[in-house]
């Protein structure tokens, strides 16, 4: 419940929108002074003097609660475990955690290992080839007195 109202107080306050105190009393099977008392206490707890203001406040709180429910899958994150929150919430920008199956994770690690190895090998090969070309051009232009062998160029 969004406010500190009791269920009876909230029910009486909501019914005042459409019914008179007498009609509410008849519907709930209580006396009219009891209905008045519930409504009055509800107004006091919400910090307003008029019923209409209390109703408007209640509707605002309902709207806030609906918005919270839409954005938060877990209603009370303080009491919940952190890992449970992490898996229960969808995360920002459509983030999804990796699958929980250990076999799938190991498979993913293997794939990433191969991809990393290929990338690093390609990168180092490209750099080595470029260095070799630079040295061959420098040697052709005569800027280097003794052109290094390809193996020396790679090690540099």
């Amino acid at each position: 419940m969004p406010t500190a109202l009791t269920p009876r107080q909230e029910e009486c306050l909501r019914l005042t929108r459409l019914l008179t105190d007498r009609e509410i009393a008849a519907q709930l099977g209580v006396s009219e002074p009891t209905v008045k008392k519930h409504v009055l206490e509800a107004c006091q707890r919400l910090g307003v003097n008029r019923r209409k203001a209390a109703l408007a406040l209640l509707e605002d709180l309902d709207a806030e609660a609906r918005a919270d429910d839409e954005w938060q899958a877990v209603p009370d994150p303080v009491d919940a475990d952190r890992e449970t929150i992490a898996t229960a919430t969808s995360g920002r920008l459509g983030y999804r955690p990796p699958p929980r199956d250990p076999f799938l994770r190991v498979l993913m690690i293997a794939v990433v290992t191969v991809v990393c190895a290929v990338l690093v090998t390609t990168l180092t090969t490209m750099v080595a080839r470029q260095q070799r070309q630079v040295h061959s051009i420098e040697a052709a232009l005569g800027t280097l007195p003794n052109p290094p062998s390809p193996s020396t160029a790679v090690s540099r």
Binding site: G91, R92, P97, R105, I109, V112, C116, A117, S155
Partner: protein, 136 residues
């Protein structure tokens, strides 16, 4: 700097990784100074222990970056193994290769901070909690 970011802005998983990596680096540094042989057996053992820790974390925690970190560490171990299998491989190129994989691992840790944010988890640092309470 990446360690500081991981410690301050990361979640509990990133903090564990920062501790493990720091420990591994300091150990490797000492072992590297002590051991002057070509094969660097002790450094390989330290890297192997780090790999086990990272694999355990990758299977226990829900983080994509840990999968990349494990992949880099596996490649580091392969580089160690290559030095044993092929003695013609120069120690310098081997160390550079391992340094490269270590660098990718560090960037994976930095990406882990972003992943923590994407996952919607709060940072582990208690110093950031009051700030978030004020702004939130």
């Amino acid at each position: 700097m990446i360690f500081a970011i991981g410690w301050l802005k990361g979640g509990h998983v990133e903090r564990q990784a920062v501790l493990a990596l720091l420990l591994a680096y300091v150990t490797a540094l000492f072992l590297h100074d002590l051991e002057r042989t070509t094969h660097q057996f002790a450094v390989m053992i330290a890297d192997g222990v780090l790999l086990i820790v990272l694999v355990w974390m990758a299977l226990r925690h829900d983080r994509w970056w840990l999968l990349v970190a494990v992949a880099c560490q596996v490649l580091t171990m392969i580089a160690h193994g290559a030095l044993w299998l092929d003695p013609d491989i120069g120690l310098r190129s081997n160390v550079v290769t391992r340094w490269l994989f270590g660098l990718i691992l560090l960037y994976a840790l930095a990406a882990g901070v972003g992943e923590r944010w994407l996952a919607g988890e709060p940072a582990a640092s208690p110093g950031l909690q009051p700030l978030r309470a004020k702004t939130g």
